[in-house]
């Protein structure tokens, strides 16, 4: 198994080269697969060795991408420990090969497949999204993944499907943070069906054009960019379509502080942290905080989902 920490820095594509590559869409697949082959020869890198070529995203806001180093060393992933550096230090213990995801529940055609099969079924594409943590910091991340709605359409949700429940993995021998009952493992999250079907919602299998690092939720994770980061559950094993609103892990842990919706909202404060502003990771020591935007800046795309809802009540 490849140890994430031990990949020499020279094998990680620096951002400026990454950005250059973005200009050569046609060559990209080739570059990636050949570099992936040379880097990971004789080792098994989970279910996914490299990413096939994909359509690249436009950086609409023209925001500076957070560096790969920061994205992969500053994580909240309590399965590996509660400090920000724990996931980077311990996630390599997790075996992600073999790995299967089952899509089940109120569906006409349930599916069970691995990540390779999944991205053959649905073409991957790149999405550059802001990620806003409930703790008041944010990043800009070039994810690679598939739109969740494409997958959900394949399983034909029945009329009873009102919500989508996501379940991660419970394996304390490899996820050493699970040796403490810090949270009710396995980590569970949920979306309303219309949120899950929204075109912005993706299942990510990569970032910065490469296979998703384990500390970021390999082999497959959810990304819902207008919600606080904890909604974007990592290492998904099960996607279940259900009739009743699922109870998420953080709701169970503290329902006064964490609601089901968890939409980024500068006007509804968390009891611990102000949500009015955020610190952008990777900016200089002297950079000011940024004003947090409603729905993390995706208001135009998603506000209609919550029309008429009291967002201070349904937080």
């Amino acid at each position: 198994m490849t140890n994430m920490k031990k990949i020499p820095a020279s094998d990680i594509t620096p951002e400026h080269i990454y950005n250059d590559r973005r200009n050569f869409i046609k060559n990209l697949g080739l570059i990636l697969s050949s570099s992936a082959l040379s880097t990971f020869a004789n080792t098994s890198f989970g279910a996914l060795n490299s990413l096939p070529s994909f359509a690249q995203a436009k950086n609409h806001g023209n925001e500076k991408l957070t560096s790969l180093k920061d994205i992969t060393s500053y994580n909240n992933y309590y399965e590996f420990g509660t400090s920000k550096s724990d996931p980077h230090d311990h996630a390599d213990l997790l075996k992600i090969d073999p790995w299967s995801i089952s899509i089940e529940g109120s569906v006409a055609k349930p599916l069970k497949l691995d990540v390779d099969e999944l991205i053959k079924l649905i073409p991957i594409e790149e999405r550059i999204y802001r990620l806003r943590c409930v703790e008041g910091w944010s990043m800009v991340i070039p994810w690679v993944g598939i739109p969740l709605h494409s997958l959900l359409k394949k399983v034909s949700p029945t009329g009873n499907a009102k919500y989508v429940e996501f379940v991660s993995l419970k394996r304390p021998s490899e996820m050493i943070g699970q040796k403490d009952d810090m949270l009710d493992w396995p980590y569970t999250e949920g979306l309303r069906l219309d949120e899950a079907m929204h075109p912005l919602t993706i299942l990510a299998v990569g970032l910065y054009g490469k296979v998703l690092p384990k500390q970021n939720g390999a082999p497959i994770r959810l990304v819902v960019p207008w919600k606080y980061g904890f909604k974007s559950i990592k290492a998904i094993t099960k996607i279940r379509l259900v009739e009743k609103m699922p109870v998420s892990t953080w709701m169970k842990a503290n329902s006064k502080e964490y609601g089901f919706f968890a939409n980024v909202n500068p006007e509804v404060d968390h009891p611990r942290w102000s949500q009015a502003t955020e610190r952008r990771i990777g900016e200089s020591l002297l950079a000011p905080r940024l004003k947090t935007e409603m729905f993390n800046g995706y208001q135009k795309e998603v506000a209609h989902l919550y029309q008429g809802m009291d967002l201070s009540r349904y937080f």
């Binding site: 910091w137 611990r272 942290w273 502003t277 000011p288 905080r289």
Partner: protein, 195 residues
Amino acid sequence: MNQSYVKRLIFIASLWPILSLGIAIFQSNLGANPVEFIERHFGKWALIFLCLTLSMTPLRKITNISEWILYRRMLGLFVFFYASIHLLCYIGLDYQFAWVDIKNDIIKHRYVLVGFLAWLLLLPLAITSSDKMMRRLKVNWKRLHRLSYVIAILGVLHFIWLVKKDLTEPLIYAVIVLILLILRLNIFNRKKINH
């Protein structure tokens, strides 16, 4: 050992938080969120020095060596020093002197509020720390400086309420402060006298 020599040693050792931060900056070891790193660094050291300061009286009792008390004032001033840097980092680095945002943060979030209160209570203690003030205030000086117990409790609460889920680290400080406060209870003093 010469007391003033020990004092000087303690003073130099007490500058370690500054030096260790300097080393971390020099090695670019502040991580992805350097502002948070620096803020927490000084917050933590303020708490550590608070525990050290409150340890001097119990140490005197336990060891029957009175010298401990000679270092208490300096350690206490280091509490004020590091708590002030911690606060300055919050106001200047984190919030860039955006006073309205800072005011809202203090009002709305209990962990910020108790932290700020703790710093406010440190102010009169720092101001009255000189020999002159000690003489002038007489019995009241001792009463006033019992505020340090309140400050310790507020400081620990500040840490507990900040943390999202993993209370291990703040609870370690809570237990230390609790022990240091219990050691001051009269029962212990009477026992000592009865012996």
